[in-house]
Symmetry: none
Subunit: 192 residues, 4 copies
DNA sequence: TATGAATGAGCTTTCATTCAT
DNA sequence: TATGAATGAAAGCTCATTCAT
């Protein structure tokens, strides 16, 4: 693996777990077994490294998510929704996804990161909104915009609490209640 | 106002908005019109300042929250739940509460803060859990533990999204749908 | 002496002899027996240190020059000119003046220094022009502007060559020929 | 053009305008559209590049100057002097010459450059001294050594002031007064 | 010949902390 | 109580130079 990839890999890990400010270039070098010069050879500065890390992380997450979106054709709106939520909750257990939740949280509260990634973040939020709205559009009792905002926010909240509590967090049970809640709200029957 | 209070006041603001790491003692001094020596006279070091800031912030938030808890006696479980959620959503608009959400988010992401405040955070989470469980205990179809975790997480998520998006975030509509969702899940009638 | 003065003193010496870019803050600290932190406590950054150094140097040079200007009243224009040139040449041997010539040369060729000191440099050039023009104004055959420019440039050139060659540079003889040259040009009798 | 020539060309420009220290190898590569490896293939290190640049620059300047020296035979000492000064002043407007004045100034100020080029500089100064002394030898009232030093220094000074002030610097008028000054000093009639 | 990845020393600057006053 | 001078470690970054290809 090229040193550039090593650096990005390590940076993802450290930015997500310790935050951008607290992660020194030196720390990245130490973990990636690379010299400081190498980092600045491949990335103009720390901010550019951050941007490349963000993009790389988005790609990884997209790969994970593409698996679901694939074969939902022909399903009813209800089934699509269940499918999507099911997938989201299940993927929360994946290390890549957990890292990405932590990473996004860092972005949210560190002004430096927000400033650097502003454009990229907005793009991603719009994408998520669109993906929920596409499904909700076919459900008469849904409020496309509001429910999408709500879904995103709640999933965020659960993911964050799960990632940071992890041990004995009743994720599976929450998932069931969460899905049922939405089915009821949207006028469907509960499942299970 | 004593210099110590000035320092804490400024520190709350800066820790919440910029994060603990990014907030230098110098910055605090500048904003509080106080000398560096004064800070280290009143607080052993930066970490102790952080702890005092956390405690001070908790007190402020408790004052806000006590107003509701006060007169819920004699109400039905359903009414209590609606009351509580209503209060939580409404208080999200208060500057003090927004600051506290930002502050807690900072704690979550920044390992330094977490390490310093670990004990205090756990206490607060337990308190919130207890407060929800007390209400849910009287509702047969509720799953006390799971639903409490879920409620806390979702409210967290919504608060965070609201605080950082603020402009044109449909908080009021989300609140309505959110409450109805829970009423349906717990076997009550929708309201409004 | 305060540490701030020590720093400025050392910085003058090093900026003049080695140049601004080549003079590291570390080097200044080492020579001034001061910590790096002390430098940045007293000066916002290296550029501000440069500006303060320039101003301090200008003050020193002004003190030297004030001695002459003092008692020229009542003298003829010719005598005033001779006096001034005499003083300038004599002061070239002073360590302070040599340092200032070197310093000004550094400013001239280092774009960073020029940029930082632009305003201060222009002020000083205007002052020198004025001081020569005041004397030449009373000499009919002089061309105030042109001769002032020429005088400044030539003195610069001689000072530079003297400072950097020093050993066995015939400064005294040059002074005599230099003054006579100007007396002849301006229509006076040679002296000596 | 060979890559080596490209590098030298760019290095002249950058060393003269920005100084040796401030000019990084990377900058040279960028301007010359050449890789870093190429520079170190053609030149052992940065100092050797400097020496080759100096030599190349000297050749360019010599070509310019040879044009005059060529056909001065048979002229009187006075005419030779006027010729030489005339040529020097006129050539100040040439871009090559201006670059060379800046370059020489850089050498003077930057100890690194001086150290590397010491021998080459002394050679050039001796050459200039000789060229003036040859002419002055035939003028009884001249002081060969002293006047040569003075001429060199003054021309230096004027060139420097001209190059760095450029806009609206009265070079033409200075030239006239300068030549007349020397004619008077050496016992000749003024011209024009 | 030529490339560019990689290194490590050194640069300016920030920062929590100490201490004499 | 309060000041601010002083420290030294560590941060982000630049740069000449080396080397495998």
């Amino acid at each position: 693996m090229g040193k550039k990839q090593q650096i990005i890999q390590v940076a993802i890990e450290l930015f997500a777990t310790q935050g951008y400010e607290k992660t020194s270039i030196s720390a990245i070098c130490a973990h990636a077994h690379v010299s400081k010069g190498a980092v600045f050879h491949h990335f103009k500065n720390k901010e550019e490294l951050l941007r490349e890390v963000f993009i790389h992380m988005a790609e990884i997450v997209n790969e994970v998510d593409d698996n679901v979106d694939a074969m939902t054709e022909g399903l009813s709106a209800k089934e699509k929704l269940i499918n999507l939520l099911d997938h989201i909750f299940m993927s929360m257990a994946l290390p890549e996804k957990q890292l990405s939740y932590q990473f996004e949280l860092q972005i949210l509260c560190q002004s430096t990161m927000r400033a650097v990634l502003e454009d990229l973040i907005e793009d991603r939020y719009r994408l998520m909104m669109a993906s929920f709205q596409t499904i909700l559009r076919d459900i008469p009792s849904a409020d496309g915009v509001v429910d999408s905002h709500m879904l995103i926010a709640e999933i965020d909240g659960i993911a964050i609490n799960y990632v940071f509590a992890k041990d004995d967090y009743p994720l599976e049970e929450i998932k069931k209640r969460f899905i049922n809640k939405y089915l009821l709200l949207l006028g469907f029957e509960k499942i299970k």
